[in-house]
Subunit: 215 residues, 2 copies
């Protein structure tokens, strides 16, 4: 297919497709003349993947490049593989996010939970910053506090990790990275909707509320 | 206290404090001379709140302004109150996030879950975009699919909504808005750490792994 067709099927403007080509995120097409190239299904699925990572995944072009490199050239051992995938994501977090100056409290919490985590890595700094912000805002947490959130999310994590294939490093990286970044927006959207429903139930906001005086 | 002390205790540079004053997010201090003003504990707690919303909360200045307005001038009815708080957050989402062109599938899913949600509101569009991205990337979800995430998050939402005070509209708005934006980074950080631990357990990545040949 031509670039215009690739653009249309991928749901991305032609100018953006050209940008991804220049940045090397999309491999070059097969030249059919001095000014035209042909693209195939491989280009289309790669383009859709980039769109998912940049859009809902919220990754920068540099982080997308790392993720694609990890998918294209997966390391052999599960240990290295998980490290590379996490690294690509941590890079992103280090760029964008608030970081706490002191993550000792967060490390103690993780140790108390009995979790084994990477020595370096951005997630612990993220946790420390989130805890600081909750402290500073004197936010009342649900009963059970942070440990309750940790318990629920660890339960989900075990179910999620069970979906990672162990026979193909490429498929495993893809599942770990995409499962991390693409599920995050899903979780946040579902949580906001669940909060709306739960708040409506508790405070009696119903469909007919606006007309309730007339009923 | 002077602006320098406010800046130090709030953990925010003086230039940023001045910016918040100019933007009207922080109320002006009490003038003690033509060039000096005094600030009090109220200014300090407001400054810390702004910092939490801008930093880990990731809100824009415009969204912070809406949140502060909802806190300062809370509507009377629980219905309006929740609406205003959600509106402040939706504004943010509408700015930054990928949106799906079609949210009919997401609406059907929410209906099937039995949730009552606002007719308008950005979260449904966010859900649609997240589902599109997962589809496009052909990501394998955990057993039970999206419904499993929905079930877990709704359970948490009910526990979270139970912490919202029902005797003070100001306190309720504060809890709803902060509970939404400050818990999100906590959830994501905990999930990434939980995934590290769960992946380590499944794939046998342990503390001593690097030296395991020597043991």
């Amino acid at each position: 297919m031509r670039i215009s067709e690739l653009s249309r099927l991928g749901g991305v403007p032609t100018a953006t497709v050209k940008y991804y080509l220049r940045e090397g995120l999309l491999p070059a097409g097969r030249l059919t003349s001095a000014t035209q190239a042909q693209y195939d299904e491989g280009h289309l699925s790669r383009l859709r993947l980039i769109r998912a990572l940049v859009g809902p995944g919220g990754l920068s072009i540099a982080a997308v490049r790392s993720v694609l490199e990890a998918i294209d050239d997966p390391p052999e051992s599960p240990l290295e593989l998980l490290g590379r995938a996490t690294e690509a994501l941590s890079m992103e977090q280090a760029e964008g996010a608030a970081r706490s100056r002191d993550d000792a409290g967060a490390r103690r919490m993780v140790t108390a939970l009995g979790w084994s985590i990477a020595e370096s890595g951005a997630a612990i700094g993220e946790l420390a910053a989130a805890l600081d912000a909750i402290d500073e805002a004197q936010l009342t947490l649900l009963e059970g506090g942070v440990a309750r959130y940790a318990e629920v999310l660890h339960g989900l994590a075990v179910e999620e990790v069970a979906t990672v294939p162990d026979n193909s490093p490429e498929a495993a990286v893809r599942q770990v990275v995409l499962g991390t970044v693409l599920i995050e927006p899903l979780l946040l959207a579902l949580r906001r909707l669940a909060l709306q429903d739960a708040a409506g139930r508790r405070f009696g906001v119903s469909e007919g509320d606006a007309q309730s005086t007339g009923v």
